[in-house]
Amino acid sequence: MHTNIDTHRIVSICEDTLETPNVKTLIFQDNLSFKAKPGQFLMVWIPGVEELPMSVMVSNTNDNAAITVKKYGIGSTALFQKKKGDVIGIRGPYGNYFRVSKKQKKVILIGGGTGLVPLMRLSVILNKMQISCTLIIGARSKPEILFYNFAKKILQNTKHKIIVTTEDGSFGIKGYPTDALIKILEHDKFDMAYTCGPELMMKKVYDISISYDLSLQASLERYMKCGVGICASCCINDKLVCTDGTVFNNKELKMMTDFGLIYRNKSGIKSHY
């Protein structure tokens, strides 16, 4: 029915799953989001509270889509509190997406926090294309690890390895996902790396990719108001994350002198990370 991706679609949540004590996945029926490509995002209206960009998560059933939200400030906390039967408004999916080519035989994914969401959608495709895949899941501690079992399931038909890093060492390797990445790159080669997570983590991934001559696609997150390229609140240097991105490659990232250093706050003032 809705052919216009831009006008709000009000959807009922038909399933909610607690992923960790602070992270919840909300599933709803929406054909347009069901077809979203990995890395694309929705603008999610939490009625009466806020509108927030959220990456499209994997859902298992046809015509369904999902988002996975981490409790944080006012907006995300209100969204986190939504449960089965509640309604939210969505528009999109917006933005470009992770590119996968048949020539890629072996890829590596580095995700931190809810940055793992687009990487899950990407994993579904890698699995289907039978591309060999190493996934690094970064978390602060064991209870915060996202999608460990889920990833195993959606990667089951392709050769894969899942590595978890925790900052406190309560599970998997102690340290940051970027530490794990360097270790792996010491003795292994990949056709492409994909990353999403906190910008500082992605900046490190980028720096590493340069050292190791690794092709990279990073999905950036910036403060977004419109999602459609008119307000510039999401800008990083001369690029708009919502329409030129969210996914940028090494070449583009190289030109972004603000990447990992400077963001704009709600007023549009440049601030340092």
Binding site: T7, W45, G89, I230, A232, G268
Partner: protein, 307 residues
């Protein structure tokens, strides 16, 4: 002698020469110098108007602040969020593209202070936003107070020699009357129109979608109202008029120029067609000029006044 593209499309606006009449409207992509530079070099805009800048930074309203509507329209109430005059004058300190700084304030004495921050920079001039329909005590509420409008413009003109464009809209006062007041007070040009106060309610949640409830309508819906405003203003005033509202194609630009616009501003169509809309429109106008064998696009300004 073959004329260059520049000659054919160049327009003069209150003493300002522009490569072409296509100006970025205020509030669109208007806070980043790097984006200004890209718009000028990659997308060939004739000029840029910055986001409306207030003395101090403003965070704006909570989301949703921008609501896309059916049929290529937007409803917005960003709440004039902007980095404020200090931060923004620093942003544009090395500017070398054709830039107009849009100013907004609620009191007369804010404007001289604003001008002070920008007057030494390399900018074309100012646009004064007297027509934002959804921020209390700013914009429209100012624009509807005819005496305040007069005083603000007088004051601004007394502290700068740069051209001052006054942006007005569909509020609670006859638009021609405000334009005339602005002209009398010394405005160098008029921009018309701004967004029109409007609202959308979602019927499932029964709530207004904008966090501010009320916002401004822009896009295709307001073009016939913009055309009418430009026609009426330009017929009654001597200073140039910049048309704004619902421009999506070169045909829309021509319609605005026939109505009496010396240049035009483009906003909402960027959200539906991307920044490349500027280049595409420019190409359309070039073809039009060639077909009609005009020497310069300015020849058509106000042609519809004949009828």
């Amino acid at each position: 002698m073959k004329r260059s593209t520049k000659d054919i499309l160049a327009v003069n606006l209150a003493g300002i020469s522009l490569d072409n009449p296509l100006i970025l409207a205020s509030g669109f992509l208007g806070i980043s110098q790097e984006i200004f530079t890209r718009l000028y070099h990659e997308f060939e805009v004739g000029a840029i108007v910055s986001k409306s800048i207030s003395l101090n930074p403003m965070e704006g309203y909570r989301g949703p602040t921008v609501v896309p509507l059916e049929n290529f329209n937007f409803l917005n109430a960003v709440g004039l969020s902007n980095p404020g005059s200090d931060s923004f004058s620093n942003e544009i300190k090395n500017n070398d593209v054709p830039l107009l700084v849009s100013l907004v304030g609620s009191q007369e004495n804010e404007f001289p202070k604003l001008i002070k921050k920008f007057d030494k920079l390399c900018i074309l001039g100012y646009e004064v936003n007297l027509s934002c329909p959804h921020v209390a005590k700013m914009g429209m509420e100012v624009g509807d107070d005819i005496e305040l409008v007069y005083r603000i413009i007088k004051r601004i003109k007394s502290v700068t020699t740069k051209p001052v464009i006054i942006k007005i809209g569909i509020g609670n006062t006859n638009i021609v009357k405000i334009a005339e007041i602005a002209q009398d007070a010394g405005a160098n040009a008029i921009t018309a129109i701004n967004t029109i106060r409007a609202m959308k309610i979602d019927i499932k949640t029964e709530r207004p979608i904008l966090s501010n409830k009320f916002g401004g309508l822009s896009g295709k819906a307001i073009k016939p109202i913009g055309i009418r405003s430009v026609y009426e203003i330009s017929k009654n005033l001597n200073i140039p008029v910049v048309g704004c509202g619902g421009i999506f194609s070169w045909e829309d630009v021509i319609e605005y120029m026939l109505a009496g616009s010396s240049a035009v501003q483009i906003g909402s169509s960027i959200g539906y067609l991307g920044m490349s809309v500027f280049k595409e429109i420019k190409k359309g106008i070039m073809d039009y000029i060639k077909k009609k064998d005009l020497k310069n696009i300015m020849e058509i300004i106000g042609n519809a006044h004949k009828y």
